[in-house]
């Protein structure tokens, strides 16, 4: 069990108090190994985004403990969480969240201001196949291209894990495939731990591990011995 990257232990996340209280995560337990390609699957309101937000250091659990890369993040303070977000995770949003006033290149190069040994932005853009667009602004690019830039941005920090919240949710299936291939590649070739949250069951076939959630609880964890490469999936 040396290579455990993520450990959720009895995690509870409660929003609100008393009668209006909502248990978004109700005693959630799971582990994820280093280099795994994991999909958290569930309907809206299943609690999967809450898991991702806690993992991303954007939210803290009400109780329970979360350990990422050997560090307990569930009791970190604001500053420590900032450092954690900067150094350990790369986040990919459904709507890309690029800074509209920065060019593609600058959006990626931004990471130099966050971590000391950020990777070269041009290299990263090359890796996602967009070096020819590096001087364009987000508004001049398609959704798929914007998402690839946001992946390049996540990669530039050289994080241990990459988190994606419905990264293909706003894309048509063709561009969605390109993005997913890219993510699967990261996992296979660069040994990154990739965790995606989605309600799209098709994506699950490509994952090493599928965590199925419902009503704030983990329903089942499926180990996929033979994950299908993204390109071979029938969408």
């Amino acid at each position: 069990m040396d290579n455990i990257m993520v450990e959720f232990k009895d995690v509870v996340k409660q929003y609100g108090e008393g009668e209006a209280a909502l248990l978004a995560n109700n005693h959630v337990d799971f582990t994820i190994d280093e280099g795994e390609f994991v999909v958290i699957l569930g309907q809206s309101g299943a609690g999967k985004s809450t898991v991702l937000n806690i993992l991303g250091g954007m939210d803290i659990p009400t109780s329970g403990s979360v350990k990422v890369a050997g560090k307990v993040i569930s009791d970190m303070n604001d500053r420590q969480l900032s450092d954690y977000r900067a150094q350990t995770v790369g986040f990919i949003f459904q709507f890309y969240n690029l800074l509209p006033s920065l060019t593609a290149y600058e959006n990626v190069a931004l990471t130099k201001d966050i971590v000391k040994n950020a990777k070269d932005a041009k290299e990263m853009l090359k890796a996602v196949g967009l070096e020819q667009h590096m001087n364009k602004f987000p508004a001049q690019l398609s959704g798929g291209e914007q998402q690839r830039i946001s992946i390049a941005r996540a990669l530039a920090k050289d994080p241990k894990i990459i988190l994606g919240d419905e990264p293909t949710g706003a894309l048509d299936s063709d561009t969605g495939v390109i993005v997913l291939e890219l993510l699967q590649d990261l996992c296979r070739k660069h040994n990154k731990t990739v965790i995606l949250v989605t309600h799209n069951a098709d994506i699950a076939q490509c994952a090493d591990k599928v965590i199925r959630m419902k009503n704030g609880k983990v329903r089942e964890i499926i180990k996929n011995e033979n994950p299908v490469p993204v390109s071979e999936v029938e969408w």
């Binding site: 937000n53 991303g56 954007m58 939210d59 604001d78 500053r79 900032s82 450092d83 954690y84 977000r85 900067a86 150094q87 986040f91 949003f93 459904q94 709507f95 969240n97 800074l99 509209p100 006033s101 920065l102 060019t103 600058e106 190069a109 931004l110 990471t111 130099k112 201001d113 966050i114 971590v115 602004f137 987000p138 508004a139 001049q140 941005r153 920090k157």
Partner: protein, 763 residues
């Protein structure tokens, strides 16, 4: 239902809507405060003129006969005319107060306005009418005996009434630097009493329906065969003019300053509403998809700023009129005598309120019109983010070397130009007003040292009785050493023609050129008048288009003979406007030198000599200078407060807008691992730039606007605006502090920024 939506959203965005309300309030209340007291003053003044049948024209001369009056009456546009005797005298007691005695044959033109007691009656030869302000200051009662000195002889009469003269709203004793009510009174007595048999009638007063009295001058000159000195209208009468100047100045302020606030209010509205409508794009789409008419939605959004600016305007009118306006009227009631002066409104209040509310509403319409034109299906989809684009800043050679924060903010500014304009303009306006307000203190300080260190080089000012002869004065001067100075009213003209447009009533100072009473050039350097020439003060020279080397014409106010003179110097004096010449040149005209003052370094008292009317030491003079300035500084304090509100409101709004417009970007940066401190810096940087640019842009205009304020303060004041570095430093530090405070407020918001919540609703 939309009404509920509006109420809730105004509450939600209370900061910005409050700013709009405050700006509308400031603009309107500033206007109302100046205007309300002015309207009342004008109305009450007209009432006074009507009730007292105040003269429209004054003719001064050496002596007028009854037939002169009859001839004047025959001029077509003259309604009625009277002659009267005017003597300057002194009270026997009462600190020998200055008395302007009007000896009248009846009570028809320029009737004294009776506050208490009987109407003036020429049959009552044993009665006297005194100024109400004077009687009040000395606690004189009706029926008391009052004695004044007439050519050395005491004349005693019984006080029949307390009056206000319609010809003297401004009543200041010659020896005083500011208004001291117990030192001067207008006095009315009957011409039928025998004491005045020997005195010549020096004035003809007449009423007329001519619009321009000066156009009658040719006719008057014809019927009087040129035997008169001056024809004056109300604008020439010092007792009326000082007041009229003051009111005109208020009228000017009532327009110019509110305009600044309205422009800023418009910028705030335009930026606020634009942001709000862009944020509510989906809501607007939904409403339209539900079938709501476009106009109804437009009206809904327009009503935000309509309601907010209307509330601000209504409160502004009420408070401006009844609180600020009444306060101003109260201050000036003490200075100027207009019976019944309070505050009043007129139709201009409706116009100004309408303009303010409508422009605010229109600004909203313009900023929301664009969104309304989007097809509903389209506006239901998330808006394409406002495109970043290459900015002009990128053309700078060092662009690539700029840090991320700088580049990011420069691009952000070019995306929100209106916001940047608002920030810079608002701070600049605030800075300008702050500098103006603070520089006024150094300007007054400069005027004080200019007056007391350069112009007035004496320890004691000795005022002589009006009848003092040259010999008597000379005797005193030999005893104490010093400089004798004569001050007389003259009329100055650039041409010889009777009907010259370039003609002004002003003051002549005749000095002995010793230097106790010195002159300075336009740069405040002490200079001497070249012999054989006269000096004209700068403002007067400008008004009459006179330059050094010009020939001008003048005559003593009460004399009919015109003299010629050459201008050898344009001089400047903060509190004197007029002509200065040397005694020897004056005497060359063959006119008697009749000194009114002795300036000396010796200490002496009033008891020293009979001819001494009063003695002021330099401490007195400085004190009364300070008193005169205290009213100005009180008004400026109000100005400072208004000035301080501007950068607060504007920078708060800028901060608020730039925070709200970029809140999602900040949340993203936070997720990426930016520390709160870095994001704060990012946000503060822009505010800091705007304040810095605003400070730099506003600073030079501070003195410009201040000079404009001082210049509009009447002809006799000529202050040279001087700003010391401290004025700039204090203003700049204040604006920066406000900027830092605003940044601090939003720093807290960044710390509390909920990444999950903010990014969840992303569209």
């Amino acid at each position: 239902m939309l009404r509920k939506k509006m109420a809730r959203e105004i509450l939600k965005n209370k900061g910005q809507f409050l700013s709009i309300m405050i700006l509308a309030f400031l603009a309107v209340s500033l206007f109302a405060s100046m205007k309300a007291s002015n309207i009342s003053a004008y109305n009450k003044l007209n009432d006074l003129y009507e009730k007292t049948n105040t003269a429209d024209g004054w003719i001064f001369g050496e002596k007028f006969e009854e037939k002169d009056v009859e001839n004047i009456k025959k001029i077509k546009s003259v309604k009625d005319a009277r002659r009267r005797i005017h003597i300057s005298a002194n009270a026997k007691e009462n600190d020998q107060a200055q008395l302007e005695v009007y000896i009248q044959e009846d009570n028809v033109i320029s009737k004294p306005y009776v506050v208490k007691g009987k109407e003036f009656d020429a049959e009552k030869t044993d009665m006297i009418w005194l100024s109400e302000s004077f009687a009040d200051a000395w606690d004189i009662q009706l029926g008391d005996n009052f004695t004044f000195m007439l050519s050395g002889t005491p004349v005693t009469k019984k006080v029949a009434g307390f009056v206000i003269s319609p010809e003297y709203q401004y009543l200041k004793a010659g020896k005083d630097l500011d208004i001291v009510k117990k030192n001067i009174s207008i006095v009315y007595v009957s011409a039928n009493s025998r004491e005045f048999n020997e005195f010549p009638y020096t004035e003809i007063i007449f009423t007329s329906d001519a619009k321009d009295i000066k156009k009658l001058e040719q006719d008057i000159s014809d019927v009087l065969n040129g035997n008169y000195a001056v024809l004056c209208d109300k604008d020439d009468m010092p007792g009326i003019k000082v007041m009229a100047d003051e009111l005109a100045q208020h009228d000017q302020f009532a327009v110019s300053f509110p305009v600044i606030f309205i422009i800023i209010a418009l910028l705030v509205i335009a930026t606020t509403m634009k942001r709000m409508i862009e944020q509510q794009r989906t809501q607007i789409g939904t409403l339209r998809a539900l079938g709501m008419k476009k106009n109804k939605i437009i009206i809904h959004y327009i009503s935000y700023s309509f309601v907010v600016s209307l509330i601000g305007t209504v409160i502004g009118i009420y408070v401006g009129t009844n609180v600020f306006g009444e306060a101003i009227a109260k201050i000036f009631r003490d200075w100027y005598q207009i019976p019944g002066w309070t505050v009043e409104m007129d139709e201009s209040f409706i116009y100004v309120s309408t303009v303010v509310v409508l422009t605010c509403t229109l600004a909203t319409y313009i900023s929301c019109r664009k969104v309304m034109n989007i097809h509903p299906a389209e506006s239901l989809r998330p808006a394409t983010p406002k495109a970043g684009k290459n900015t002009i800043f990128e053309k700078m050679p060092f662009w690539n070397r700029l840090g991320f924060s700088v580049r990011y903010n420069l691009r952000d500014i070019s995306r929100g130009k209106l916001r940047a304009v608002m920030g810079v303009f608002g701070t600049a306006a605030g800075m300008m007003m702050m500098v103006a307000a603070l520089a006024s203190y150094s300007t007054i300080g400069n005027a004080e040292s200019w007056t007391f260190d350069k112009l007035q080089n004496f320890k004691t000012q000795v005022d002589f009785d009006t009848k003092t002869s040259s010999e008597e004065a000379q005797r005193l001067r030999e005893k104490y050493d010093g400089e004798l100075v004569q001050m007389s009213g003259i009329e100055l003209s650039k041409s010889k023609k009777i009907k010259s447009e370039k003609k002004r009533s002003t003051t002549l100072i005749v000095t002995e050129g010793i230097g106790y009473f010195a002159l300075t050039d336009v740069k405040q350097n002490v200079v001497k008048i070249p012999e054989g020439t006269i000096a004209v003060t700068m403002k007067l020279a400008k008004a009459l288009d006179i330059e050094k080397g010009d020939t001008v014409y003048w005559h003593l106010y009460e004399k009919n003979t015109w003299y010629e003179a050459k201008v050898g110097l344009i001089n400047r004096n903060p509190s004197f406007s007029g002509v200065t010449m040397l005694r020897k040149d004056f005497e060359k005209y063959g006119i008697d030198f009749r000194p009114s003052v002795l300036y000396t370094n010796e200490k002496l008292t009033k008891a020293e000599d009979d001819i001494i009317l009063g003695v002021h030491d330099d401490k007195d003079l400085r004190e009364s200078f300070d008193v005169m300035m205290s009213m100005l500084t009180a008004m400026l304090a109000v100005f400072v407060i208004f000035a301080a509100i501007l950068p607060i409101v504007v920078l708060y709004n800028c901060g608020n807008l730039s925070f709200n417009e970029r809140v999602k970007e900040f949340a993203t940066l936070k997720v990426l691992g930016f520390h709160t401190k870095r994001i704060r810096k990012l946000l503060s940087l822009q505010n800091l730039w705007m304040s810095l640019i605003g400070i730099l842009a506003g600073a030079p205009f501070g003195t410009v606007i201040l000079q404009y304020m001082f210049d509009s303060n009447g002809d006799s004041m000529d202050y040279q605006v001087v700003a010391n570095p401290l004025s700039y430093i204090v203003s700049a530090v204040f604006v920066l502090l406000v900027s830092l405070f605003v940044s601090y407020m939003f720093n807290r918001k960044i710390k509390q920024l909920d990444m999950v919540e903010t990014l969840k609703g992303i569209e």
